[in-house]
Symmetry: C2
Subunit: 396 residues, 2 copies
């Protein structure tokens, strides 16, 4: 036996130290002790009857959160990006036409994913902070005749809550599947998968749900399943193949489950707990709370002289500011990075800069799930006020 050429690393002799921060960026959000503790339960097998029961509870919780009766509802063993690939890999075949609404980073990423697997991709672009009208969308659907239309409901890079009403119906008029990314929005603002005729909907565990990142709820309509299960080619990923996932999650009609992959069982525990918390509060109460807190926050920002990046503020039901992630125009004359660091250092509070098209233009504050409270708003406003007082300001 040869001797070891790599010695045990010294850095691992130090104990793990994890600080507590107020996680008020666009995600992950804070995880309450109840959910963290759920995840610290003992590991059981990924094919035990007990885990199948937990997965079945998760499925019911997702159906509630998504407001869907879809049998094909499950959680992908990965983060939001895995769900995004799961949606695209299963519904798109090489040569299919895909249309992506781009009004921030998520549309760009969906377009890139579809391109990588050989789809013909077209985009319709809204300016950062803006959104598309149903007329824009119908024009593009009629021109490109896509098999799939992607739209981010909560565009966390720009702070836009995209209106959804009527788009599913338009897609179906043009024989197109409607794929919606609700990672940053769901649970914090109304969404009705079935009534809004959304064909594929996914989210992540680490936003409004307040679970650790690592699982991603997803659901497929009957119409989406028709396409998925009548493909000519196999999806590029075995791991994300819905035929296998459906069986593992008991969503098909087969009498037994076949080993596919080792599900992240402890992440399933915390996901189940986070869905239980949401069910206890009730979706409508959660929506109402996020909206009330967001209005309080936005009013507070404006009374400090700060500007919101998403200009239009129409009354319900066409609210276009995300109640979960707020984009604030980067205060004139300041270095936004300095503000972020100052607030983290002085107030132990994470807020974030822009992402993709909003880099340099905005500060982003996420108040999601348990973090959405007036007390937290007061904390953020005080931190911002303090930062504007103490950070460097150019004399321009």
């Amino acid at each position: 036996m040869p001797s070891l050429s790599v010695p045990p690393p010294k850095c691992l002799q130090k104990p793990l130290v994890v600080p507590h921060h107020h996680m008020f960026g666009p995600g992950p959000s804070n995880v309450p002790p109840r959910i963290l503790e759920a995840g610290a339960n003992p590991v059981i097998g990924h094919m035990h009857p007990e885990i199948f029961e937990i997965m079945s509870d998760i499925k019911s919780g997702i159906q509630y959160m998504f407001q869907t009766q879809n049998k094909m509802t499950l959680a992908v063993s990965g983060t939001g990006h895995t769900a995004m690939e799961c949606a695209i890999f299963n519904t798109v075949e090489p040569g299919d036409s895909v249309l992506a609404a781009v009004n921030g980073i998520w549309g760009e990423r969906a377009a890139e994913m579809a391109e990588r697997i050989g789809a013909k991709v077209n985009t319709i672009v809204a300016p950062p902070g803006g959104y598309l009208t149903n007329t824009d969308i119908e024009k593009a659907l009629s021109k490109h005749r896509p098999a799939l239309f992607f739209l981010a409901h909560g565009e966390s890079s720009t702070g836009v809550l995209h209106p959804l009403d009527g788009i599913g119906q338009l897609c179906h008029k043009y024989n197109c599947l409607f794929l919606v990314d609700s990672v940053a929005s769901i649970g914090g603002t109304p969404l009705y998968m079935d009534q809004q005729e959304i064909d594929i909907l996914y989210t992540g565990s680490q936003k409004v749900l307040n679970a650790p990142p690592g699982t991603a709820p997803i659901s497929f309509s009957e119409r989406a399943c028709q396409k998925v299960f009548n493909r000519r080619t196999k999806p590029v990923s075995f791991f994300l193949d819905l035929n296998w996932l459906a069986n593992y999650w008991g969503c098909d009609d087969k009498p037994t489950r076949v080993y596919h992959h080792t599900g992240p069982v402890t992440a399933f525990y915390s996901l189940r707990e986070s869905l239980a918390v949401l069910a206890e509060e009730g979706l409508e109460n959660s929506w109402e709370r996020h909206e009330t807190v967001a209005e309080y926050f936005h009013a507070g920002l404006e009374s400090m002289g700060l500007k919101l990046f998403v200009k239009e503020k129409v009354r319900k039901p066409t609210l276009t500011r995300l109640p979960t992630v707020t984009t604030i125009v980067a205060p004139y004359g300041y270095d936004w990075k300095e503000i972020m660091s100052y607030i983290m250092k002085t107030h132990n509070l994470e807020i974030s800069g822009g992402l993709g098209p909003s880099v340099g233009l905005v500060l982003r504050v996420g108040l999601m799930g348990c973090n959405s409270s007036k007390a937290n708003v007061d904390m953020v406003l005080a931190a911002l006020r303090d930062a504007l007082k103490h950070c460097h300001r150019s004399k321009v």
Copy 2:
């Protein structure tokens, strides 16, 4: 606002109940409290300096476990199957020739993954429980001239520990990358990535490491990186694209890290802790312990009249029985499913049946990481003895 059509599910009103089992199947294995507790630390951002330090510690821990100096060493945000796809997606382009050694389920799955992305796949097959000689392998390399050769080091479906010596050198003689699956073996038996000239090596967190499933260590040699970073086409997966992962893990030379995906931070905590445990014990001690316990277990099984599925038992260094997962020939005249259920019900102890080519032929017992002890062997032997006394035996 329409009203809710799906009410809060009643099943989520019941508290989460997770039983404790002795996890002596082929994985996941039991997670000691120290590692579970690490995973229950507060969530911090996936781009915080603190998480980058934890990721850097993980990288060092993997380099130690793998015995490699590879800069391109990281953990994929997913289970072993994700790492398998990460390895194949990044190193294989459509039309590339891939050779997979099939002596159980893992080779079949690697072949399927490569086929899905358009590779020309050939296999060399060893009978279940057997293994391939270097002469077999060289013949196949010379015939098929693959760009990548896949081999499972620990074939957990059959219980074979495949010899590795000399294969890396053969691959390189034929200008082929050597990809090794060490999910079930690493940490429990000697493996030297650099000295054995392995180009891509991966494992999972839930076996010898005793962390919850959900992260998968992986490493790429300089030679593998040459191929990955000089591809003509983009890998099919954005999420698993090594260009992005390398940057997120600080393995490239870029000064800043760009947001790719939200890493499962709490799973990183427990992975780090599990690597610290391994470094504390020391690799050589861990190998020695697994081997001693396996020999004690195998002797105990044979003294009960049970037979081991892997026939050949040659002395080191060509040991071909996995010390981590033992395959026992299904006892003649019994229903293997009844034995499994009896042992779970009566002794609260998970053992498993066969998988893929070994279904119906074997019982599988995994004793990995903290589970590898003589006390646990005694527990398993007593349970088996009891099961053989009480389960139904046909009169044939």
